[in-house]
């Protein structure tokens, strides 16, 4: 009996620490700034344990029954804590913090109740000095075990959601074990046992189905360390780092990886700009990370660049954070650059300026609102802002994974009477990526690149305009506001890729 109870102290203690670690890890994953998250979660948790211990004095009767009940509640609450917090973050990010600390506090308080109760149960049979020494020993042992297992085994193999469920199962097992140990001393044992078995079943089912659950929610989380995270009124901006790889995620969509973004941005800018020795005025739509700017500013003939990005939080971040300004070569500090934080569409409709080169770097056409930015009406509007010999470049999703979508962009541009020159480049973090050059006459690739490049060479460039068989042109409808053909293609093609 004694041994059994001490074993349960071990389990109970490890469960307690596990929930705390899970909550801390989750908070730093999604909110960033792990030091703050861990210390506030641990602080809340320890304080709550104190509150729980203090309350334990008010439990006077039916110690074992109460203990079992508390175990069951911790098991269910702790077991589902990670899942609940994940889903909370994905579907209702606003109250996430409140929910986080509430859950941490509740679990902490209940765990704080456990140990004093066990001590009092044991005290009935052994001397107090032995109780204290043995219980605390197992308590700390349990903590040690989890703190080692957590990073080594649990997180990599089970993930946070499943780990929490596993510890929930352990808590419930302890409760059922205690029920069996004290089966002769407990009054309403059948009822308690029923509850225990129900909790066990619930957790077990969740554990079995957790794969699907986590993949649903966990795709939203990042394996790498979060170095910056903020929610602007327009989007959630997250920057992660893993070794020397910086990554930007907007609303959980990867925007670039610093390891290969040069391929994307060189391909976006140079094939056009290297053929425009007279390009003085440049417009960038989107591109608040300043990486396209970095490439554009390599050209001495460029006198002024206007960058229109909706979100001031983005341009502020990329003009101040040292790691990021190092990446964009401090492009926003250039006196040639003018930043306009406005809706690019509204700005285009209102402005009368013309440009020699326009970079159109909008998100992929994944919904009807964005689909409008790839419509014939949009390209007609764009044309009004192109100087007589001007060129524009449009990022146009992957010709490999979304082949018809890509060619739909080309077809749409051509339908407005503009000349399209489609090309592609391999960007490992995205895969094979597509671009379309837009102008009023036929395009010829540059004979040389007058600026430093890491990826492009003049010899390679014509090959980018060749499409291998699996990316070759397919017929597609013109994307109009009133048919949104592109969004339909895109939805179908990416759904196919994801499966």
């Amino acid at each position: 009996m004694q041994q059994a109870l001490l074993a349960s102290v071990f389990v109970v203690a490890s469960c307690g620490l596990a929930y705390e670690l899970i909550a801390g890890a989750l908070a730093s994953y999604v909110l960033g700034d792990s030091i703050t998250q861990f210390s506030t979660v641990i602080g809340t948790y320890l304080f709550a344990m104190g509150v729980g211990s203090w309350f334990s004095r008010y439990i006077v009767r039916d110690l074992v029954g109460r203990f079992v009940r508390i175990e069951l509640i911790i098991g269910v609450l702790g077991g589902f804590s990670a899942a609940a917090l994940y889903f909370m973050f994905v579907w209702a990010p606003e109250p996430f913090k409140i929910a986080l600390y509430l859950i941490v506090f509740l679990i902490g308080m209940l765990v704080g109740l456990e140990i004093p109760l066990i001590m009092r149960i044991l005290k009935r049979d052994i001397a107090f000095k032995d109780v204290v020494s043995q219980v605390l020993t197992f308590d700390y042992l349990g903590a040690l075990a989890v703190s080692i297992l957590f990073p080594v085994l649990l997180v990599p193999h089970l993930g946070l959601v499943r780990s929490a469920l596993l510890f929930g199962l352990l808590n419930v097992a302890v409760a059922l074990w205690a029920l069996w140990l004290f089966r002769t001393q407990l009054p309403a044992i059948a009822w308690l046992r029923g509850q225990g078995i129900a909790a066990l079943a619930l957790l077990a089912v969740a554990f079995a189905g957790a794969g699907e659950m986590t993949s649903l929610a966990e795709t939203h989380l990042y394996a790498d360390e979060i170095v910056h995270a903020e929610s602007s009124p327009y989007q959630r901006i997250v920057v992660t780092r893993w070794k020397d790889d910086l990554r930007l995620h907007l609303n959980n969509n990867l925007q670039f990886s610093s390891r290969d973004e040069y391929r994307y941005h060189e391909a976006l800018v140079h094939p056009a700009l290297a053929t425009l020795p007279g390009a003085r005025r440049v417009l960038v739509l989107g591109g608040g990370d300043g990486l396209a700017l970095r490439e554009i500013l390599k050209y001495p003939q460029v006198e002024a660049v206007t960058l229109v990005d909706l979100d001031p939080a983005m341009t502020r971040l990329f003009s101040t954070a040292p790691a990021l300004t190092a990446l964009n070569a401090n492009a926003f500090a250039s006196p040639k650059v003018k930043v306009v934080n406005a809706d690019a569409l509204v700005w285009l409709e209102e402005s009368r300026e013309q440009f020699d080169f326009v970079v159109v770097d909008f998100p992929d056409p994944s919904n009807f609102a964005i689909g409008k930015l790839y419509s014939a009406a949009f390209y007609r509007l764009l044309e009004k802002h192109l100087s007589a010999t001007g060129l524009a470049v449009v990022q146009s999703t992957s010709p490999l994974y979304a082949r018809q979508s890509f060619w739909c962009v080309v077809t749409t541009i051509e339908s407005t009477g503009l000349v399209a020159a489609p090309y592609h480049a391999l960007v490992p973090s995205f895969g094979e990526w597509g671009f379309v050059l837009v102008g009023r006459r036929a395009y010829a690739p540059p004979q040389e690149y007058p600026v430093a490049t890491r990826f492009l060479t003049p010899a390679l460039t014509p090959a980018l305009f060749e499409f291998p068989k699996d990316m070759a042109r397919v017929p597609a409808e013109v994307n109009q506001l009133n048919n949104q053909a592109l969004v339909r293609y895109f939805e179908r093609e990416w759904r196919h890729v994801i499966r």
Partner: protein, 546 residues
């Protein structure tokens, strides 16, 4: 494999999109549970009750001066403006158009709000068929119809073609594409729906119904349709599916402000069978629309005649004499009246005014009294950001709720190309067709703005629980005599005839003359009245009607 767009694509198919992004979801915290937020501020527009009382009581200053005018148009809605448009195109410039409100356009005007312009009432125009000559002429002038205006399938300016998705329907907690409930209906419903559409297609192929309605075929068999209700006609075809009846009733309420049980089958079928317009770059059922509804059409009619318009002028008495038509006009801003002695009068104000305003015209008064008019309520909800799209089909321009007393809402920002959701106006429509027109008018006037908005939020709240907390301002528009009702026996029962006829000095140019209210009819009546006037004046012109 990580890729940009990966989750965006997921988001487009499911609920993940609510996390944010460009689909129009700034992270707006919901309001705290408990008491509902207060009713947002706003205006009450439409019928001016005090003025109405004054006009009825005859409590107006007598005219102090008499002005002679060759041609006078009373009413600056589509009918009156179209008459002015045609006169001006024929080179006539000695006419005057009087409009009671500060602004012309009538039910087709736009409304300015904190979140940009929205419709005051009318909000779309279907693609015009080949017979809608005047409509096509106007659209070509505006550059919206490109190329030959008489081409069977012209190209239209993409910005005016309603963007995808055009409409969706909320039923059993789920939004579905289109207005026919294709989810949650059974095989019998579908079969009946298909048969109904076949019947309509057959009428369409026979070109039995036309827009303008005056060009419709008038065989006895077709005219007999006017003597049964749309509902009874459906039942007589053995079409009794409840969803089908909802669908047809919705169409009657939406177009005529009248339930299918009161609408004549001729009018009900006209709605479904008259549309023959096609486009080179759109499906045939696409409509033309803009953020402020049909106000762009008003601007097109007005632009050549602004100098001929006098607003803030209310005609309250009309009398025909041997040599002129005398029209007494009250100018509220100056608190005085003027008498116009017009050689020709085009009356383009609603016909329910005729018995009150026209002196010594017993026949006209009797005919006008046979009309009934539908009362309408429009609510313009200015939202700081769009309510979340909800489960199922994505947000459309026209969003309709099944089994609702209202007709749903249209979204003013739908036609805009915007990256971010910077707010919009949701224009909610409700024809008070569930009660008699008189009771409806009484309800319109006696219930407060707050009461009406409570009803609007209760109705739309079924689909958008958070709507009330997103609404920062809310105007209601009360229209007591919004449109003539094509009730059983009305359209071909003779009441319209005296108004459709020509006479030496007087003609009528309001949608009421057609017996139901749509842009094309109002414009047709206006152009027809202008062309008849031009003939009387001996002015040569090319007709816009053939």
């Amino acid at each position: 494999m990580r890729r940009r767009g990966f989750l965006g694509a997921l988001g487009a198919c499911g609920t993940l999109g609510t996390l944010g992004g460009l689909s129009g979801t700034t992270l707006v915290a919901g309001c705290s549970p408990g008491s509902p937020p207060p009713i947002p501020r706003g205006r009450v527009l439409g019928n001016d009750v005090d003025l109405g009382h004054r006009l009825r009581a005859g409590d107006l200053p007598p005219p102090g001066e008499t002005r002679k005018i060759p041609v006078l148009i009373v009413g600056g809605g589509i009918g009156g403006l179209a008459a002015g448009w045609k006169l001006a195109k024929a080179g006539v410039d000695d006419f005057l158009l009087l409009e009671m409100e500060e602004e012309t356009g009538g039910n087709s005007r736009g409304l300015a709000t904190a979140a940009g312009a929205c419709p005051f009432a009318a909000h779309y125009l279907p693609l015009p068929g080949i017979e809608a000559v005047a409509v096509r002429e106007l659209l070509a002038e505006l550059g919206v119809l490109q190329g030959d205006p008489r081409a069977p399938r012209p190209t239209y300016d993409e910005r005016y073609l309603c963007a995808m998705p055009q409409e969706r329907l909320y039923r059993n907690g789920l939004w579905q594409e289109g207005l026919w409930p294709h989810i949650g209906t059974n095989a019998n419903d579908h079969a009946q729906y298909a048969r109904f559409q076949e019947l309509m297609a057959a009428y369409r192929d026979r070109r039995a119904f036309s827009v303008p309605m005056a060009l419709s075929r008038r065989s006895p068999e077709l005219l007999a349709l006017d003597r049964v209700s749309m509902r009874d006609w459906l039942l007589a075809q053995k079409l009794d599916s409840a969803p089908l009846h909802w669908y047809v009733d919705y169409a009657c309420r939406d177009d005529y402000g009248t339930a299918s049980a009161d609408t004549s089958a001729w009018a009900g079928i006209h709605y479904f069978a008259c549309r023959s317009g096609e486009a080179a770059n759109a499906e045939h059922d696409t409509v033309l629309t803009a953020p402020d509804g049909n106000a762009w059409l008003v601007r097109g009619l007005v632009r050549g005649i602004t100098a001929r318009i006098q607003s803030g002028a209310i005609a309250y008495r009309v009398e025909q004499t041997k040599r002129a038509v005398l029209v007494d006009v009250f100018l509220p801003a100056e608190e005085r009246s003027v008498r116009f002695a017009a050689e020709q009068l085009i009356w383009a104000a609603p016909l329910f005014l005729v018995p009150r305003v026209f002196v010594g015209e017993a026949k006209l008064a009797a005919a006008a009294q046979r009309y009934s008019h539908a009362p309408w309520l429009v609510a313009n909800l200015v939202v700081s950001s769009l309510p979340s799209a909800g489960a199922g089909a994505p947000r459309a321009w026209d969003n309709v709720l099944y089994d609702s007393p209202g007709l749903g809402y249209v979204v003013s920002s739908h036609q805009q190309m915007r990256l971010a959701d910077a707010g919009a106006v949701l224009t909610y429509y409700r024809a008070l067709s569930g009660m008699s027109p008189a009771a409806g008018r009484e309800a319109l006037l006696s219930r407060t703005r707050e009461t009406w908005l409570d009803e609007v939020f209760a109705d739309l709240g079924r689909a958008h629980a958070e709507l009330r907390s997103l609404t920062v301002a809310a105007d209601i528009v009360r229209l007591g005599h919004a449109m003539a009702r094509p009730t059983v026996g009305f359209i071909w029962g003779g009441a319209r005839e005296p108004f459709a006829a020509d006479s030496p000095r007087l003609r009528f140019a309001h949608a009421d003359v057609s017996g139901f209210s749509i842009f094309e009819e109002a414009q047709y009546r206006g152009v027809l009245a202008a062309e008849r006037t031009l003939r009387r004046l001996g002015v040569r012109f090319t007709s816009s009607l053939v």
